[in-house]
């Protein structure tokens, strides 16, 4: 790329990604592509029972396989426990197994097939325990307890727990009990959503090696090198300084690579063998033992006055936690915080339980519980609109949060572009004329559906280091992992625009716990907003030092200096009095002032609950984030013969504060839509008791090109966040959140039959249509 002007590569341009060339030529290296000298390959022996005490191991047969270097079981691992909220999980099962496939032994061998063959030869002796496969079973009287030690586990917030309840949360604002009397109509219903697999096309994996001092270097597919470091060191009881966590290219993460997967296993194998060890899961294992989106059961009740004014909402959620806590308490708390939606509902009460079961752990997945509650709440708005004879858009427009309104719980919302999102989605979809458009194919019913939503970006600690090199080029180091969403490019653009250099003069360092400033992770739609703020702040420090140098050279005041496009600093109003960054940096390095490095760190600290307005118990997020808003309209066509739903057109208006890279923002909206559409229409992890029935891509179906609409219109709305970098806030999740709800609303409009359970498969739609035709 030639050096372009800042205006051509900086903030607001769809700058191509720096790593795209490597990716289209096959050069980009992912964890499975990495090889180290003398490397061993590992394989897992997974539990064949869902709930049992481990009575004994026999590894002799496995050890006897030629080429096997090491077999480790729970007995060979330290007693440390990890977990984002509740420290309830060892690196490998010890004493007890709690779900099918849970690693109980690991083998390292000279090649992968030998390791897998040997792993299959590990013999286990179990004492079976009663299995609790669902939250209902787990909450029943006398149910077997998944974690006997729950009360003693370390927890990072005051968790309300007991028995198989891992966490219980409630939030209340207003007076719901008496508010029902003020309602002219009340709708009530039960909603159910299944487990969804992340299905990053890259299965997870990790590679560890140790040096002569016993210090570990660990590469893995991850969303946070720092969370990897923390989890491995907690579970293996290593000092954190003894482990360096790095990342190759990551073949997407939608939450599944945020918390640990196989990293502790390869580290322990490397420590025991002294050799590099790599472990890549096969697809079945990736389905069975990483994590997935929580199944939700939701009871929701919403009341309104005749004129459409929303008055009260009550929502109750039961989440299947699976066998370990992982991010689940956060998902519960967050989903409840989203249960009012972006509306003025003065009386709102929600309550939820997270229940341990003997299934794989469920965890973070793009949307973090929000798509599930939105599926319920946005359908109820349509039900109310229908009962009152009010247009769906009119009802929403009447009730949406206005600028200055606070979020449920009382958190401040500094920017709110929701009204504009609604207006633009309505106009683009020609909503009023929707009823007059015929289906594109005969034998189908066509209708539009709408849903609105909001989602946060934020949470926790972040930093950035910006260094001006001797030649005037720049290295940006943030520790934020680009999982494919394009944050490296976006952060580079922010740095480049702040320093007024072309983007190709800024290189971005690969995340490295040794050298990068702390970054909690690529999750919670947070990198653009939180890391971006640090990037801008650190770049401004560098800009200040550049000006300081220039002021000393020019013998003028710093205030009289300006940065100029192309990486120069000059005196305001005097075009020919300027210096290049090369000249500045040379002086700093060799003569005066010292090398120019800017850094910034911060932690998100705005309270999410105002105790004067709301009562919250068991909520894990005292400080959560800033809000992005969105409105989605979809057109569906339903085959009258089969009940199959096809989405033909999509209008997705999303308030992202500022699109730093519009092409990437569209990519998030389009990709989020199709992933949400899969959740709505085709994807379901089917369980038979504790066993996942369809752990393969043959049997778990995500949309292909032919199932996905090309008519996706991304409408970018920019209600600037006052403290966001260039006004930006997050876009990674918000585009997915309203998808199941909007599709369900469209299906209901087309069939006169509401779908309260996902996925909306042909069977349920056809049954609904047939029931309707019988009734009429």
């Amino acid at each position: 790329m030639s050096s372009l002007d800042t205006t051509e590569t900086g903030v607001g341009t769809s700058l191509p990604r720096a790593d795209a060339r490597d990716k289209v030529t096959g050069r980009a290296q992912y964890i499975a592509d990495m090889v180290r000298p003398g490397m061993l390959y590992a394989a897992i022996h997974g539990s064949t029972v869902a709930h049992a005490r481990i009575k004994g191991y026999d590894c002799n047969e496995a050890l006897a396989v030629p080429g096997v270097a090491c077999v480790l079981t729970g007995k060979d691992f330290p007693d440390g426990r990890m977990g984002a909220f509740i420290k309830d999980e060892h690196a490998i099962a010890k004493d007890k197994v709690r779900y099918l496939g849970e690693p109980v032994a690991v083998v390292a061998a000279e090649d992968e097939s030998t390791a897998r063959r040997a792993a299959a030869l590990v013999r286990m002796e179990y004492e079976d325990l009663p299995v609790v496969a669902t939250p209902e079973e787990a909450m029943a009287d006398g149910a077997a307890v998944v974690h006997e030690g729950l009360t003693d586990y370390f927890k990072v917030f005051p968790v309300i727990c007991g028995g198989n309840i891992a966490s219980e949360t409630s939030i209340e604002e207003g007076d719901v009990e008496s508010a029902w009397d003020d309602c002219d109509i009340i709708v009530e219903g039960e909603f159910e959503t299944p487990a969804q697999a992340h299905l990053s096309i890259e299965p997870v994996g990790a590679l560890a090696e140790i040096d002569a001092e016993g210090r570990v270097t660990l590469w893995s597919a991850n969303q946070s090198v720092f969370r990897v470091q923390a989890n491995v060191c907690e579970s293996l009881q290593l000092p954190m300084s003894k482990l360096r966590s790095l990342t190759p290219k990551v073949g997407a993460g939608f939450g599944n690579k945020m918390e640990p997967h196989v990293q502790p296993l390869v580290v322990q194998l490397a420590l025991k063998t002294g050799r590099p060890v790599k472990l890549i899961l096969n697809r079945v294992e990736d389905f069975e033992i990483v994590r997935a989106r929580h199944p939700f059961k939701i009871r929701c009740k919403t009341g309104a006055r005749k004129d459409g004014t929303l008055v009260a909402r009550e929502l109750e959620a039961i989440l299947d936690c699976g066998a370990y806590g992982d991010d689940s308490p956060g998902v519960l708390g967050y989903s409840l915080l989203m249960s009012r939606g972006p509306y003025r509902i003065p009386n709102c009460r929600c309550h939820g339980k997270l229940v341990y079961t003997n299934r794989m752990r469920f965890g973070a997945f793009r949307g973090f519980g929000n798509p599930q509650v939105t599926f319920a709440t946005e359908q109820q708005l349509d039900e109310i609109a229908e009962l009152l004879g009010i247009d769906s858009f009119d009802l929403r427009e009447k009730n949406i949060m206005q600028p200055g309104d606070r979020w449920f719980g009382g958190g401040e919302v500094a920017s709110n572009g929701l009204a504009e999102c609604l207006g633009k989605a309505k106009a683009a979809s020609d909503w009023r004329a929707a009823g007059t458009r015929a289906p594109t194919t005969s034998g189908t019913r066509r209708a539009l559906g709408v849903a609105a939503c909001a989602h946060i970006s934020g949470l926790l600690g972040t930093g950035a280091i910006v260094r001006l090199l001797e030649d005037g080029s720049v290295v940006l180091n943030t520790g934020a992992v680009d999982i494919g969403q394009g944050s490296d490019t976006v952060l580079t653009q922010m740095c480049a625009s702040t320093l007024k250099v072309p983007a190709d003069r800024v290189a971005i360092a690969s995340p490295d716990t040794d050298g990068s400033p702390y970054n909690w992770g690529t999750t919670a739609s947070r990198v653009t907003y939180t890391t971006g703020r640090s990037v801008v702040a650190a770049s401004e420090v560098v800009a200040g030092q550049i000006k300081q140098q220039a002021s000393e050279i020019f013998e003028c005041a710093v205030e009289d200096l300006e940065l100029r496009d192309g990486g120069r600093v000059g005196i305001v109003g005097v075009p020919d009095r300027e210096l290049t960054y090369f000249e500045i940096s040379a002086r700093a390095h060799w003569a005066a002032g010292g090398p120019i490095v800017g850094s910034d760190t911060w932690v998100f600290d705005q309270p999410s609950v105002d105790p004067k307005r709301a009562v919250a118990t068991g909520l894990p997020f005292p400080q959560i984030g800033v809000y992005s808003f969105g409105c989605l309209v979809v057109a569906v066509e339903i085959d009258e013969t089969t009940g199959k739903t096809e989405v033909t057109d999509v209008w997705s208006a999303m308030d992202v504060g500022k699109a730093i890279n519009p092409g990437s923002v569209e990519g998030q909206i389009e990709g989020g839509f199709v992933q949400g559409m899969g959740f709505a229409l085709t994807e379901e992890m089917v369980f038979d008791g504790p066993r996942l029935v369809n752990p393969s891509m043959l049997d778990y179906k995500v949309p292909t090109t032919l199932d996905s609409p090309l008519e996706i219109e991304s409408i970018i709305v920019e209600a600037a966040e006052p403290d966001g970098p260039f006004g930006a806030k997050g876009v990674g999740e918000v585009g997915l959140v309203p998808v199941p709800a909007a599709i369900a609303n469209a299906v209901a409009a087309a069939t006169r039959c509401r779908q309260r359970r996902l996925p909306i498969i042909p069977e349920r739609v056809l049954n609904g249509m047939l029931e309707q035709s019988v009734e009429n």
């Binding site: 096959g26 073949g251 969403q485 569209e666 393969s696 043959l698 090109t705 996905s708």
Partner: protein, 157 residues
């Protein structure tokens, strides 16, 4: 278990590969014996399409092809598409059109795209959709991918 060394023609270069058993797939040989790691192992069942390579001019699954059964075939992997380091027009369109996110599916998609573009005529979006239905992408929603290929079909020399 091992057979004699097998001969494979990959990206126009002949390779002699030893230690290939009857059940060894072409994907395994490419990745583990020849360090051609462009083709990815996403599912190893022929569903995801990340391992797609061109065999005698047609895109196929390298995870479902036994290496020893490919000895007289002409194989092209993603590494063989950028001639002399210059990106092909479709590769260029993917870069400039923001059609690449995590990139794990990109090598397989590049192969399917090149197969589609061989007809040397402008493609409709529907043709591209049909031609790419065997390459799953979990990031992009496919829109920019289809657009990039249509554009490449219209603009290339």
């Amino acid at each position: 278990m091992s057979t004699d060394a097998i001969k494979l023609m990959i990206n126009g270069v002949g390779h002699s590969v030893a230690g290939v058993t009857a059940g060894t797939t072409l994907l395994t040989v490419l990745r583990e014996k020849l360090a051609l790691t462009g083709a990815k192992r996403g599912c190893n069942q022929g569903v995801c399409g990340a391992c797609t390579v061109m065999v005698d001019g047609a895109p196929m699954r390298s995870c479902l092809s036994l290496a020893a059964n490919c000895t007289d075939q002409d194989i092209t992997t993603v590494e063989g598409l950028a001639l002399d380091g210059a990106l092909s027009s479709v590769q260029q369109e993917f870069v400039s059109g923001n059609a690449v996110q995590c990139g794990f599916c990109s090598p397989g998609i590049m192969i399917s795209a090149h197969a589609l573009l061989r007809g040397n005529r402008a493609l409709t979006a529907e043709e591209v959709r049909a031609g790419l239905s065997g390459n799953l992408c979990r990031c992009s929603g496919y829109k920019k991918i289809v657009e990039a290929i249509v554009k490449a079909s219209e603009t290339r020399p």
